[in-house]
Symmetry: C2
Subunit: 260 residues, 2 copies
């Protein structure tokens, strides 16, 4: 019998809970065994209490048993695009989105909405052909949940590719891998709402996870997370996948070797 696994999630905000208009401070996800729940909770608690967006005055951590089978996904291939300015970074981002299959007009339209949605804690879904927002989650957005990448496996991956073993990279690549694995996802555009973190990325099945070293000014608390989606017959089942389908990112050296 397989060991029970639990989805552990945290959200923290300031000036009240999110649903009462509080400012989003931090969120986080783990998938944990019962025996490791204390570590998982404390890891997320530490994250909530030490975020550079500020000290939260509301936080919620919950765990719940995962009943669905957990899918295993290989991490996206990664690349780094070193740029010297935000402008250059954003130009690269647009180019990568276009190469991933997002029409230029839709990219332009999505960018016009970026400022408006920069305070959301979740992602917005944008139709790839019209550039119009498709989800109905107004001030909240869609939060991708039930995903993790075991530390030991991540460390092996990071060492192999000579990438520093940072939490940010692990979390971002886990999310991008889950999102990208759905057939309806064409591309993702993301930069953090952490004022101290200016790196962002474009991710897609075609290009993998393309880190861009500068997508916003240092100190800027406005984040961005847009999923460009195509051919969505069933928006609710897509959102259900993002929110509920449990996945582990799992890297195997052999697999990557075979491809390269």
């Amino acid at each position: 019998m397989q060991e029970n696994l639990f989805s552990v999630r945290m959200r923290a905000s300031k000036n009240g809970p999110h649903e009462q208009g509080g400012k989003h401070i931090s969120g986080g996800e783990h998938i944990s065994t019962y025996g490791n729940l204390k570590n998982a909770v404390n890891d997320l608690l530490e994250k909530a209490l030490s975020h550079s967006r500020g000290n939260p005055d509301f936080m919620q951590i919950q765990f719940e048993l995962i009943n669905d089978p957990i899918k295993s996904l290989r991490p996206l291939h990664t690349g780094t695009n070193t740029v010297v300015s935000v402008d250059e970074g954003q130009t690269v981002a647009r180019k990568l989105l276009e190469e991933s299959g997002v029409p230029r007009e839709s990219i332009q339209k999505a960018y016009e909405q970026v400022a408006e949605y920069s305070e959301l804690r979740g992602a917005i879904l944008v139709d790839v052909s019209s550039g119009v927002r498709m989800d109905d989650r107004s001030n909240r957005g869609v939060r991708v949940s039930r995903m993790d990448w075991r530390a030991a496996n991540f460390a092996k991956w990071a060492d192999h590719y000579k990438i520093p073993r940072g939490q940010k990279v692990k979390e971002a690549l886990t999310l991008a891998t889950k999102v990208s694995a759905h057939p309806a996802t064409v591309a993702e555009l993301c930069w953090s709402d952490d004022p101290e973190y200016t790196t962002g990325y474009v991710a897609s099945k075609k290009l993998g996870y393309q880190r861009i070293t500068n997508l916003k000014d240092y100190g800027d608390e406005r984040g961005c997370r847009i999923f460009f989606v195509d051919g969505l017959s069933d928006l609710q089942s897509y959102i259900r996948y993002l929110e509920k389908q449990p996945i582990f990112v799992q890297w195997r050296e052999e697999n990557d070797a075979r491809i390269n």
Copy 2:
């Protein structure tokens, strides 16, 4: 300026969250400074993961800033009624309720409902003159929240009265003190849903906190928490007091000395 204080609360259940019909396992409350939040969260997490009602598969811990001024309440005076059987214990309980001002017929009526509400995680409110349940919280009951008793002060109190420094006593007396302090509360009847804990109590302004050493059989998971309430012009404001008014139990030796 006074230091910010946070209400920290936990609830844990099995076979899903409470709101989806899960079995209540454990709940808990703290009032904490920001600096002590990690301890408070871990204390409640430990409680959730080690309860004799079983291992939870759902748990939620949250903290939020308390904006209202915190009331300080003196602990109820305590007495212990040693009994040799559940029957004797229940007879004592009924007698103490009657002495507290609950008519015998209402006690009888309330007891007829005890089995029905033994799976609730919160309390039920019973009208003292009719014996009829008054709250509208069906399967949930009313959960008393935002209360604590600082460990050092509790220890002083416990040592003074030669009472073991147990968590159960601290939690029960904190709750009973808060409930009893409201003018509309006539009496409380309580025994734990912890199968290993057979002691219960009757509490009232008149008699204080009267522990009764045996109110149910060992191994029995059915608990009871009834507040007998009188002259309630505004049920919602009474429930708001129980759920939202923050209180600290605070004992001062001088106060008790002056009274005795």
